[in-house]
Each structure stands twice: as C-alpha cells, then as structure tokens.
Symmetry: C2
Subunit: 284 residues, 2 copies
C-alpha cells in the first residue's frame, strides 16, 4: 500500500481523495509534473519545478508551497515508499469551489497531490526493442506548452495506436509532427543531423528534451529545431522520443514503415546512455 | 448542506470525494451533463440522457447505470435538496486506476457523480439586461461536440471577458464564431433570419439549441445553420445565446459594439418565453 500526499497530509493510497468540487475534477483546471527517480534520487527536479511554476503562472494559479517544501514532500515519498527506480507524479489544481466557469476567490487554496509509481526505467524492454509508432491527427487545444491534465486526446491517440499494434502515437498538425502522446519526437537525417520540433504553444517544452539536446550539443551532434513531416520521418535513418520517464527511447517503425535498419540506432542509444549517466550524476 | 451522489451513495457534500487516481481528475477522461430544474421538475431530461450516451459512446466509455436509474437519482436529489429552481450536474469518468495513458481494464467501474445547485433561472437579471460579450480566439481541441470536462479554455475565456467588463466570451475560429464559453451563439439578421453555427465537431450539440430552433420553426421564424463572422454579428439587429441553464439569453454588446437597439430584442424575448413555456409543460 503506497503512501501518497494530499493537501498537507501523507495518507494511504486508498484513502487519498479530493472533493468532487475540485476544479481539477470538474474543469481540468489543473497542471502536473512527473519526476523520475533513479538510485532513490530525483532526476532534474529543478527543471520540473521551473516548468510547474511557469504552468501555474500561465494560468494565474497560486500554489502557496515553496520549491523547498515540494522537494521535501518528494523525498519523503521516495523514502516512505522505498522508490529506488520509478516516478513521482505531482498535480496542482485551482482548488475546490462550487461549480462555476469563473475562477473561485483568490484565497481558495490550491489542491496539491503527489504519488509514486515503482517502475523499471533503466532496463527498459521498449527502449531495447524500439517503439512502433502510428500517427494521429493532432486535435489538442492551442496551449500544449502548458502541462495541464487535459490529457484525454493523448490517451485516445495512444489507444488508437495500440489498437493497430503500435506502442505510441505521434501527433501531426497541418502535415507536420508536433510530438508524441506524452513525449517529444525526433528524427536523425542521413547526414547525422537531429531534427525536433521547435518550441511553441503547440508542444510541451520537455524537461528531458532540453537536457538531451544539451547532451547532443556536447557530443558535437548537429541539432535542428524545426517542424518535420511524416515523409521526412519515414526517410530518416533513426527516430526516437524523449520524456521524463522514457528518457531517450528509439523508434523503429512509423505507420508500418521501418525506420533505418529497423533496430535502435546509434544516435538514440548514445544519447540515452549519456543522458542517463549525466542525470544520475546530477540527481538529488 | 447539500446531499450529493457519488458512486451509488447519497452523501453530505463535504464528504463527497473521489480517488486521486480517478481518471476524471488525472486525465480529464470524463463527460458531463447539466439539467435544469423548474417547478421541481427536470427540463428535457431525455435530451440530456441521449447526449450523455453519445459522449460515452464516442469515448468508448461504459456506464452500467440505466437512464431510468439516472432519472431516479436526479429526482431523489431534487427532493432531498428541495430544488424548485436550479441545476443538476452529472459527471461520468472512466473510473479510478493507477495512472497510465492507456485505458484501464474494461471492467473498471465508471465513476458517477451528481450534485445540485439552487439558482434562479426564470427571473434572470442577465436575461433582462442583456449580455456584454467579448470575442476570444477559439483554442479548444477538435472534438467540442463531446461534452468532456476539458473546460479550462472556456473558463479562461470567460475570465478574459470578465476582466474587460464583459459577461461572457464568444469563441472565434478562423474568423468565424463557433459558440459561447458554455452556450451556443445566434444572431438575427435585419430580414428576421436567425443564424447559428451548423453542427460539427467544433461546437457542442446543444440540447437547448435543438429545442429553441424547434420553437423558432414553429413560430415561422427563418433559421439558417451556418457559420457567421464577428462583423456580421456586429451588424445584426439582435444576438443571443442558448444553454440549459441560461435558456435563451439576449446579447446587447459584442467587443464594445452595441447590437441593434442595445436592449434585449423581440426575437430573443419571444423565443425565451416560448421555450420556457413549452419546457415547463414537458418537464418530468
């Protein structure tokens, strides 16, 4: 039985509840972060805190809990639930109030929820085999840069891919790949250049994306941040995705077309290795 | 203290909670309906049930509670909370399961939540005065025809309008009005024709919209279901919105431009009167 955190208290997971009047439940008026744990330590916690604060700011949401306190809660959960490898999920909502599209009074306390998931991240069978991707028309809202819980479409897209035998979906808007269902998307051209969508309101500003691109530049790999088409992806020598829980995860097939050799490629493998090494060193 | 309904039980509102693992909370994987109550009776309950079933079907969500049982729950809440005039809110989620973008096993029970709100609907000061509207670029997802709880954007749009002194927002996509933040949008041309956006994935298929258009046709009013621009709206002789809780509600100003005489117009007033009369007759 996990211990989880709900509004100032550590409780057993089956007692962890929020009001039905919580705006996270009624309006998806809520943002979240997922931080990975390796060796019992937090990966890029500062990056997740920064993005959480940005999401809150964009939605004029106030959380009266400091980053230091958030760190304490994360660490307490890691210890309590004995997480050597896994995830910590953190969600903030605008709080509970009688249902109204208008925001509740400003002094309405935000809801803060955290829970852990034990999960093997380093020794990933999916990363070893490589993902099969199906593309889906991106029908999400216009502010995908804010990490809200409006995740119904990514969930539907993932299910659509699974129904065809795929592992995940890449989303396509106006003929151009935006990102994966819960990760950023990359291709490697035959001249070795890594291409990934440039930051805008249409994609999540991945914490892992940022760190992996930094690794790539350190490794003297050429990076182009720009949109790419599915046709370009199918012609690529490699493809991969990045996310907090998947790190760097190779893609070997897109819409039934084999990418490159059909096996995880050297660029993705190298980046995965270097990213993990660097992140473990910096973990707190 | 209200009595509310949560998963088979009638409980006090401050005890009404759902698991933090509920997919309504974590993924906005959830749909809802709001039914009005007049004279202690339900307005167009069959219409709301039909739309709920459609929303569930579109999302492959299963609710093992029949329409008859839903009616019983509605009626019990009306009686228990002594609702003569007000709203009943009903929400269904895909249920609680450990967090995963993939759907949980099919036998995961849906979460069903209902609560009431006492609210004066007939004697509406806003309908008497007429609404001031500001337009906002429509940034919602591509399936606005499914009544999901992904309501963050409509909430933000309403707040943006309020910050400018408005009552509500009309959303505009590609230069054409889609609908209001939580209602359908209409204009009346100087030849008397009522224009409202045609049904598609871009707008909610309003239960009240359907009934009001039927009233209009009975009254020999001409109706055109097609997109219209903000410029056309500003040149209109009248404008109004329809929703389950607002019935027919006149609009007197759009982006600072007075519509028609600047007072609620005869078409909106007539439709409001006839709609209310007909609905009270048919209420159950």
């Amino acid at each position: 039985m996990r211990t989880v955190y709900v509004n100032g208290e550590f409780v057993a997971e089956d007692e962890a509840k929020v009001s039905i009047f919580d705006r996270g439940f009624l309006f998806a008026d809520s943002v979240y972060e997922v931080t990975s744990v390796l060796d019992g330590k937090l990966i890029d916690f500062a990056g997740h805190c920064r993005r959480l604060r940005r999401s809150l700011r964009e939605l004029q949401m106030t959380l009266r809990v400091s980053d230091e306190e958030l760190l304490d809660i994360h660490r307490h959960l890691v210890e309590k639930n004995e997480i050597e490898e896994g995830l910590i999920y953190m969600q903030v909502t605008r709080g509970a109030a009688d249902r109204d599209f208008a925001f509740p009074p400003e002094d309405t306390p935000a809801t803060l929820v955290l829970f852990t998931q034990i999960k093997g991240l380093l020794d990933s069978p999916l990363a070893a085999r490589g993902q099969k991707i199906f593309t889906v028309e991106d029908q999400r809202w216009g502010r995908c840069d804010i990490k809200t819980v409006q995740l119904l479409f990514p969930s539907l897209a993932k299910m659509e891919s699974k129904s065809k035998g795929g592992d995940d979906a890449w989303l396509v808007r106006d003929g151009l790949v935006t990102e994966g269902s819960s990760n950023n998307a990359y291709i490697v051209l035959d001249n070795g250049t890594i291409v990934t969508r440039d930051l805008s309101n249409l994609i999540l500003h991945g914490i892992t994306r940022r760190a992996v691109l930094e690794c790539a530049r350190h490794l003297q790999m050429k990076v182009e941040e720009r949109p790419f088409t599915i046709e370009e992806a199918k012609d690529a020598v490699e493809a991969f995705s990045t996310s907090a829980s998947g790190f760097v995860c190779p893609v070997i097939e897109i819409d039934g077309t084999t990418i490159g050799s059909g096996e995880p490629g050297p660029v993705a493998s190298k980046l995965r290795e270097v990213y993990i090494t660097e992140m473990r060193k910096a973990a707190i």
